[in-house]
Amino acid sequence: MIPVFLAQLAKERRHPVILIVLIAASVAGTVIFTGGTQAPTEIAIFSEGTQSEAIEEKWETLLNHNSELQFVVSNPEDARESVQQGQADLAIRLTETDYTVITSSTMPDVAVAEQHVRSVFEQEAVIESALAQSVQPELLRTEIESAIGDPVMQMNVSSLGGDELSGYDMKTQLIFAFTLLTAMFMIGFRVNNILKDKVYGLWDRMILSPVTKTGMYTAYITYAFFIGFVQILIVMLIFRYFMNVELGDRFDLLLIVLAIFTFSMVSVATLLTGLVKKPELFYAIYPSVIPMIPIISGAYMVPGTITNPVLLFIGDLFPVSHAMDALLDIVMYNATLQDVTQPIMMMILIGVISMGIGVNLVERRSV
């Protein structure tokens, strides 16, 4: 088994390009896409009619006050067209005292924006109502705004353990999503070496040697696990120590979950290898299938975005969704090993079943 493992390692050492490219892709993908999420989301606002300019000016200031969203006055036609063509999730049509949300999406960000707009309009309605009965409306407005800034009662939100409740962080989620995605590629390519060596006759030569078949499979599978985990580890270390990304206090637990994910993914790749006849076919199918798995599993989206039960079921069949659950719980909510037992068990279950079926199929596959 060891010579077979070492031969795979020697090949990698001689051609580390794929490993380096995938590590770079993990980091670059995260940096590029999280750069986008950190920029405020722009929402078009517009008004129609003779008073439109005054209305837009009034509400633009109010809506942008204390908001992470950015409301931008826009041409009504452009705003509507952007929504129709799917370039924007929503636009807001303003009137003197009311608004209309124009959207064709049910994404969570629409609800978040709508909630903000409603609260601004409700607050303004209360203030306007009070001002209507006041003899000194400008003074009253200043007093009300001052009172809102320094409320009599304040509500503090904390976790069950009394700690500060961590906010949801898309950047952390994308770090894991891209790291797992690129690791899936690496793992698949290396598991496919079994098929490659079968086609090129090396497998038969090994069978004729004293190396047992179990030893041969173990060597290939262990190597795929090893190189996949090394890739993940390097990416995690880059984020933690070179890019100073906050990855929680339980880095050890993160690595345990990532190791179990790697095992599970090696098994899934073995299963997929067993389903194809030629290594070239694997190279054609695998890169097409793999990017869909994190999408179906919701790895790139805010939790709760995917609600379709069929997609959720399909996502649950792959280890990515379980790994993401466990990793985000550990980083964002300081989850312990007991807290992430369920996703870990699911990954192990997927791993064991896929490995059993996969090795069987690969063994039966004549090339």
């Binding site: 060891i2 010579p3 077979v4 070492l6 031969a7 020697a10 090949k11 001689r14 051609h15 090129y200 006759g201 090396l202 038969d204 030569r205 090994m206 069978i207 004729l208 040697s209 004293p210 190396v211």
Partner: protein, 310 residues
Amino acid sequence: MIETIQLSKKFKDKTVVQDVDMYLDQGESVGLLGPNGAGKSTTISMISSLLKPSSGDVKLNGESIIKNPSDIRKVLGVVPQDIALYQELTAYENLKFFGRIYRVPKDQLEDRIQHTLELVGLKDRQKDLIKTFSGGMKRRINIASALLHQPNILILDEPTVGIDPQSRNYILEMIRRLKVQNGTTILYTSHYMEEVEQLCDRVYIMDHGKVIASGSQSELLSILSNEDTISVQLSKMSPPLAKEVLALEPVRQVEEDGDTLKIISKKSSNIISDLVRLADQHQVKIINFQMVNPSLEDVFLHLTGRTLRD
């Protein structure tokens, strides 16, 4: 040493090898000759324990290897038809890998690698990647990989396919040295009859999965003792002429090769005057005419009506 008894292999409904009886004695060099698709590779896959026969048996020193293949694997070196090497590794690294999987003792491995590289004449290229080698050099390393554990029996499956004549001669000479110097038993498959003629003490001729003739070269050639082989070089090839020559009573086989007709006819039958007449009729000139010594190729032609390369 090794014998096969009624060895057969079926893939679904297709019989690829049928009732093959063969034997190899210690130190002997045996050729398995046949055209592509004759069943040679399947036969040696069964002998080397890679493939289970549908029926029949393979015995090593009287013991069946079907249930316990480890016995034959210990003493066997197999050179596959394909280049089964890690292209991304150097020649040295490949040999080290094969030495390790064959559990060559660590203290002997380096010596064996150097000795084997010397044997195949690639010691000075050991640090080069296999993918930078020519076809002939790859074939030599392919053979070297099967020699590191010093096998008693060496099976070579068409080891010279697709290489230049110089590399082919080198490989043939190397195999001859292995037989003479080490006493290695050799089973050599090929569809090049001249290689088998050069290397082998005995020959099995296969066609359509069956052994159609076997014996030493002289025994096989004696099949043609009642026949003459005549080579006729023409000014141009004429298929209608060849057809009419084949229709002559004493003629058994006619093979067209470029502008030459190879004719197998009954011993001492006088067909020359008929040939001249037919050539005149078809307006073809006879440039050269000679009686040739029969070869294994002629034996195959005689037995099957086809050439080895058909």
